[in-house]
Symmetry: none
Subunit: 195 residues, 2 copies
Amino acid sequence: MIQNLSKLERQRRIKEHILKDPFLSDKKLAELFNFSVQTIRLDRLEMGIPEMRKRIVQVAKNTTSTDKVKSLKKEEIIGELIDIELGKNGIAILKTTKNMAFGRTGIIRSHYIFSLADSLAISIIDTEVALTGIARLSYKNPVYAGQTLVAKARVARNRGNKYLVSVHVKSDQKEVFTGKLVIFSVNDKVKKEKT
Amino acid sequence: MIQNLSKLERQRRIKEHILKDPFLSDKKLAELFNFSVQTIRLDRLEMGIPEMRKRIVQVAKNTTSTDKVKSLKKEEIIGELIDIELGKNGIAILKTTKNMAFGRTGIIRSHYIFSLADSLAISIIDTEVALTGIARLSYKNPVYAGQTLVAKARVARNRGNKYLVSVHVKSDQKEVFTGKLVIFSVNDKVKKEKT
DNA sequence: CACCTATTATTAGCAACTACTAATTGTAAG
DNA sequence: CTTACAATTAGTAGTTGCTAATAATAGGTG
């Protein structure tokens, strides 16, 4: 076989292939490129690319660290409760970070803002258990990682176990989000009211 | 027969350990349980548990399974994308766990369900960047930790860069959440917009 | 006692390597 | 043309974490 690829070019391509598919063994790469397994190995060593098995372990460990269901940690959710008057109103702040944002744009993912609002809304209801029923959300302006959000919530109406909570979220005086949430308080044995 | 019980118990524990940490080799398990490597192997074979390397590959492949989506990197998606037709519809599932729930009641916090719906809605928009604008959410029934949620989303309307996505979330055929989200696609330099 | 199960040991072999040495090929310079 | 040198290929030994199969041993039970 005529080798029309320069060594460097081949190495660049090997690297590319491995990045795209870490599950490629040296043997398969050798078949792909029509070079001997030894050459592929030399290339890998020169580029400092670990063997397939170690690459797979790396990929697997990545999953575990990100943990599949990207769980929102509690601190991230609530932010920080600053002030609260049960049954009336409350203020919470959230310092946004890069890992709450879309990698490309740095814009905070909407559900983090909703989580802040929702958590705060539930917090100000003076009851054992509170559940969100209906919500209307409006995202006014994008929020960029690093900005600090201030959420203010107040109970706008309250009929029986049904609360209408209105939440406004600002960043630097600028409104970025508003929402109206209907929260139900569930006090006693009521666990499942619907079948 | 007394041995039998301890054997079963040991196998149960081995299974548990492997589930918790798929990176355990037979040798390490043998050290952990003070049994010979051969015994561990027999146990594994009886239980049909594959060898460490294959387990690692499985874990690694889990991560790689989802591609195809433009707007979100896979780590940014809440839940697991099952099927998607860009610009049209998509299905995602989320296995709920205790740490997504209120401790006392085991009821899943609402923003996890929203996050699932929101992520899915953004995923099906065929664009580089997609942002949530307005949302109307309705929580129909409480979800308890352990239940698996199936979210279906479809693009109901599309005018220009504005998409109306409707999302239905079910658990065991029962509808637990519905939402209508207005998503904006942002392809060029659009920074903020509100309609 | 023979029988049975659980456990452990032993051996051969495999995949996918590392690490090393050695041979071959290509090509350019003296 | 010959030598020098890099690139490539080949080959060997050793490693890890196994599978598969066979055998040996210990501990009961009927």
